[in-house]
């Protein structure tokens, strides 16, 4: 299997659609009422140093992805165990996101359809894309990002007549610990989830700049999410916002231009589906990649079909109802995801720096010996 490389523009598209994915319709936890956009700004600021850590990993291990790094740094046994953790994390995340979509379609769009049907359709599409290779995903993501951006901008413009600016007041009156809780929530979901992209780092060109990809995609995606949060806040107000499962959907349903452009929320859902599709595909790719690396398979393509099906089934039985899903996504996830998003990568980075330094010093001290590692 030849190495699949995707240029920077496509990586950014994948990353942006990945980050905005579920937040386009689910929103983020809104305990801080009308200061939730401030919490998101803080979350972006928090995420930027983390992006720099991830980018540094790419410099330390050019051309390798997360699993290779783990196995190299922590050795065969421990490294493989950590890889299994990440396989589970990516699988779980993909199932979660797919379930978001299933709940959405069951609640507002296709209420009589059993949840498995739309999830299966999207899941099959994701399996096809992953099987075709990450280059295909990159190319589609680039086009889909353009399309989504146009739709989002149009929706923003159409909703301007319904903005009630007094919903933003009073500014900064919420207690600070609520804003902190929201920041932690926004940080883990969705900004730091880009750790999944580490599992696909082998696709970024070895000479390329992972820093540029990660930082710019965080900023772009963050901008989009803040724009959408502000729109929802201005249209709905903080009180109703906290009671809704899908705030963007309700906000868009209020758009009414001259009595002609109304009830477009169904079409607006298309943005949700495209971003979600990219997110699930990336999660599936990383999962299969992980399985291939752990079991030393010839190619990740061998397991795509089975892993995809398992992900779809997992998304069906992982929650019994939407309230469990909401509780998990808003309250539990920020703690559960921290080890995967922050702890392990930072430990990996520190260990890798130490090893690199030791390697360099040994290289300098004994120039005739072969350098260790690859």
């Amino acid at each position: 299997m030849s190495k699949e490389i995707i240029p920077a523009g496509q990586s950014i598209s994948i990353a942006v659609l990945f980050i905005t994915g579920a937040s386009l319709f689910l929103g983020t936890s809104s305990q801080s009422g009308n200061s939730s956009w401030i919490a998101q700004c803080l979350a972006i600021l928090l995420a930027l140093p983390l992006m720099l850590v991830y980018a540094r990993l790419h410099v330390l291990f050019p051309g390798k992805d997360l699993y290779d790094m783990l196995i190299e740094v922590f050795g065969s046994i421990l490294g493989r165990m950590l890889c299994c953790l990440y396989i589970w994390y990516a699988l779980h995340l993909g199932a979660l996101v797919l379930r978001n979509f299933g709940e959405f379609s069951k609640t507002v769009a296709l209420t009589a359809t059993p949840m498995l049907a739309p999830m299966l359709m999207i899941g099959l599409l994701c399996m096809w894309v992953v099987h075709a290779g990450i280059e295909v995903l990159g190319r589609s993501a680039k086009f889909l990002l353009l399309f989504s951006l146009i739709v989002i901008v149009i929706l923003q413009l159409l909703s301007v007549p319904k903005f009630e600016y007094h919903h933003l007041k009073p500014l900064l009156h919420t207690r600070f610990n609520l804003i902190l809780a929201d920041t932690a929530g926004s940080f883990t979901f969705p900004f730091a989830e880009i750790v999944v992209f580490l599992g696909a780092f082998s696709a970024i060109p070895a000479k390329g700049s992972a820093k540029r990809v990660l930082v710019s995609s965080t900023l772009i995606a963050g901008g989009i999410i803040i724009m959408i949060t502000l729109r929802n806040l201005l249209m709905l107000g903080p009180d109703i916002l906290s009671s809704l499962y899908f705030p963007s959907y309700v906000a868009v349903s209020r758009i009414n231009i001259g009595d002609f452009v109304t009830r477009i929320e169904g079409s607006a859902a298309i943005v949700f589906v495209t971003a979600l599709f990219v997110k699930v595909s990336l999660c599936l790719y990383v999962t299969c990649n992980g399985v291939a690396k752990v079991f030393k398979l010839g190619s990740y393509r061998s397991v795509v079909l089975q892993m995809g099906l398992i992900m779809i089934y997992l998304s069906d039985f992982i929650y019994s109802n939407i309230m469990e899903m909401e509780e998990f996504a808003y309250h539990i996830y920020k703690v559960y995801a921290l080890p995967f998003e922050v702890v392990i990568p930072v430990v990996l980075w520190l260990t890798a720096e130490l090893l690199a330094r030791r390697r360099n010093s040994r290289h300098k001290a004994l120039p005739e010996q072969q350098p260790e590692g690859s």
């Binding site: 296709l110 359809t113 007041k169 009073p170």
Partner: protein, 385 residues
């Protein structure tokens, strides 16, 4: 050759499979199998149960009728959803709510509390939240809905059209359900809803929307007349049009000012431990009617009329606020909400006892009315001989 055959078969298989998935539906229902609900009236009957009357559009009507026919279906039960589902036994079709435009609630049901009636409507996915909500000024709500038998038109759609044109008269607020629920949930503002009356004249009946129903929490506690409603809309800064009738020097109604725009600003202050609200209104109008032939440019100038209009407006506003403070303790103007938005620290101190604080508010009003034009003619109609 073999590979081409394989490719063709796999393509056809793929197309067939795709056609299964691309239809995008799991089941379907014909329009004829659904009963489209245009409006619904909610009453309480003698047993204390809810009585729902739905105005259903008759899709089976003959093709030569210019308008769609309608049918009335009435049923009682304990909970809204139960009644709605049981109605299938009466219409033979499942009710389709997405086109509903009006909900009329009887005063009795409104006085008991609206949450139990509205929760189903806002939670269900088929019902939309942009329906207009009304309170019936008659004894029951279904009388109003039954007016469609005399007007031969679907009443709910007419009511919706009336609400859209309401910005010209402004004698009743236009309240959609999401707006109503929003005001219920927000502390610092009380909900209101327009009232429908039946206007009987010469044996003909027609619906008339005028006046407001005032709610405290979710119970109706009082009513406002059409003029008071206009004043309320001015204070809430949502007035978009309407008429200000001004008396002349002798107190007889003489001038009509058409309101072009209105801006109201509120300012809150804490003076000696008592909350004070300063209301400033600036109203731009046009002189649209002069009823006396000898006023205007002879007895008084435009400034006099403006002055008198402003004083009248101030008096009306003060009277309305005092009525709200003394009779109902209902802050329908949103003073609490604007206090929260502008001075949250002050709001924190008083938010738990807002109704009492509202009753003890000191209010000062300053109005300014400017007449921008006098429409087509520059003077009153002079009576020659």
């Amino acid at each position: 050759m073999r590979s081409l055959l394989r490719r063709c078969t796999s393509l056809i298989a793929l197309l067939l499979l795709l056609s299964l998935g691309l239809t995008g539906c799991w089941n379907y229902a014909e329009v004829d199998d659904m009963a489209i609900v245009a409006g619904v009236a909610i009453d309480k009957n003698e047993d204390g149960e809810l009585l729902l009357t739905a105005e259903v559009v008759d899709t089976g009507g003959s093709a030569d009728k210019a308008q769609a026919g309608y049918k009335m279906v009435s049923l009682s039960g304990d909970t809204m959803f139960e009644i709605v589902r049981n109605m299938i036994s009466m219409t033979g079709k499942k009710l389709f709510w997405s086109h509903a435009k009006a909900i009329i609630i009887s005063e009795e049901a409104a006085r008991e509390g609206l949450v139990k009636v509205i929760d189903w409507y806002s939670r269900d996915t088929e019902t939309r939240s942009d329906v207009f909500i009304f309170v019936s000024g008659e004894k029951t709500a279904r009388e109003v809905l039954n007016l469609n038998s005399t007007t031969e038109a679907i009443l709910s759609f007419e009511l919706a059209q009336m609400m859209r044109d309401e910005r010209y008269t402004n004698t009743a607020p236009t309240v959609e359900i999401w707006d109503f629920i929003d005001k219920l949930e927000t502390s610092g503002i009380n909900a209101t809803a327009p009232i429908i009356h039946i206007h009987r004249k010469n044996g003909e009946e027609s619906e008339r929307v005028v006046g407001t129903a005032v709610f405290v929490k979710d119970r109706m506690v009082g009513k406002l007349s059409g003029d008071e409603t206009k004043t309320m809309l001015i204070v809430k800064n949502v007035l978009k049009g309407g008429v200000l009738a001004v008396d002349d020097k002798r107190g007889n109604p003489a001038y009509s000012l058409e309101i072009i725009s209105n801006q109201t600003k509120l300012k809150h202050q804490m003076v000696d431990g008592k909350l004070q609200i300063d209301i400033r209104t600036v109203t731009k109008t046009a002189l649209d009617e002069v009823m006396t032939p000898d006023g205007f440019l002879k007895d008084e100038t435009l400034q006099d009329i403006e002055q008198r209009a402003a004083e009248q407006l101030q008096a009306d506003i003060l009277a309305l606020i005092h009525k709200m403070q003394q009779e109902y303790d209902a802050d329908i103007f949103g003073f609490g909400e604007s206090l929260y938005e502008n001075q949250p620290k002050l709001w924190d101190k008083v938010k738990d006892r807002w109704p009492e604080v509202f009753a003890g508010l000191e209010v000062s009003v300053k109005s300014k009315v400017t007449i921008q034009s006098s429409a087509k003619t520059s003077r009153a109609i002079r009576l020659g001989d």
